[in-house]
Amino acid sequence: MTDQLQTSEPVKNKRSPIWQIVIWGSVIILLGIVAIQLIKSQQGSIEVGKPAPDFVLTTFEGEEYATEELQGKVLLVNFWASWCNPCELEAADLQTAWELYEPTGEVVFLGVDWTDTDTEAREYMEKFGITYPSGPDYGTRISQAFRTTGVPETYIIDKDGVLAYVKMGPFASLQEIMAAIDPLLAP
């Protein structure tokens, strides 16, 4: 019995600390990445009263609108798509509101076309006679910055670049749109 014990190759209870550090470090980094992604996905919409994200919109006509350069004006950002039926409910009211506010020069409407196809988007704009600047959300960067959850969604930003109003779903009437914009125009 003792011979057996002596001849058996003993297993040493040593562990490499470098390998342990590498393995545990990798696990912690991986968990960190997962945690960051989870936090991002559960953040919800951007909050009213906080600075709105800046972005540049290139319209279907090729014009560029940088929100940084639009400070001092009330900005209405409407996310839409040609395949979105609820968007059609508010399209005419938004256009009417734009025709009311455009001459004042104090309000800018920007239509952000989300995950849409070019031909159908242009047809939609023609159908509803949309004349305010509108363009595709390339790479869904703008919608990601606003953390949108779908379409239609509308964000109204005050003259200081702070988010003042959020509307999930379509506006019910022209009055509702005006009721959201008018308080921001008061001196």
Binding site: M1, T2, L5, S8, E9, P10, V11, K12, N13, I23, S26, L30, I33, A81, S82, W83, T115, D116, T117, D118, T119, E120, P136, Y138, G139, T140, R141
Partner: protein
């Protein structure tokens, strides 16, 4: 006899020529007019893409209007002579990497390609170490020779007592 051979040869030639042709004609008649490019060609690309509107449903089987528009756009691009890669790049440029079923191998995306393989290797190594430890006898190394001697003496004493007891009983 010679005439018969000539006639048989001619008949074989006729059968060979017309025998192969009819199935093609029938096939064309059965299928009817096909859209150009066909649904199969469109879906071959669409099944490797996802529309952000209806996540987790491949573009080729998604029933929403948005996806139908996307498929129609793929058809248009194919008709214009675009390749599969060009069409995918176009959609990525417009809507981001999320439209692809297989994320491109760059940046943080590498994590999803490396981690499973790495986890398998690490798991296999841990399992190997575990099996090795379970099957081999573990001997703690004595801290000094003195302690080793004491241990041996203790063991010997115990064994001798055990042997004595066994003798008494045996």
């Amino acid at each position: 006899m010679r005439n018969l051979r000539i006639w048989l040869l001619a008949l074989l030639v006729v059968v060979a020529v017309y025998g192969a042709a009819p199935p093609k004609v029938v096939l064309a008649q059965d299928n009817g007019p096909q859209p150009t490019p066909s649904d199969d060609e469109v879906n071959a690309i669409a099944r490797e893409m996802y529309c952000p509107v209806c996540e987790n449903i491949p573009l080729d089987v998604c029933g929403t209007q948005a996806c139908a528009q996307w498929r129609e756009q793929i058809r248009e691009k194919l008709a214009e002579g675009w390749t599969e890669d060009q069409i995918k790049d176009y959609f990525v440029q417009l809507y981001g990497d999320r439209v692809l079923s297989e994320p491109p191998r760059r940046g943080l995306n590498w994590v999803i390609y490396i981690v499973p393989g790495l986890a398998f290797v690490v798991g296999a190594y841990v399992l190997y170490r575990g099996i090795k430890t379970w099957t081999a006898p573990v001997v703690d190394e004595p801290e000094s020779e003195e302690m080793a001697d004491t241990g041996a003496e203790e063991k010997d004493e115990y064994i001798s007592k055990l042997e004595e007891e066994l003798k008494k009983r045996g």
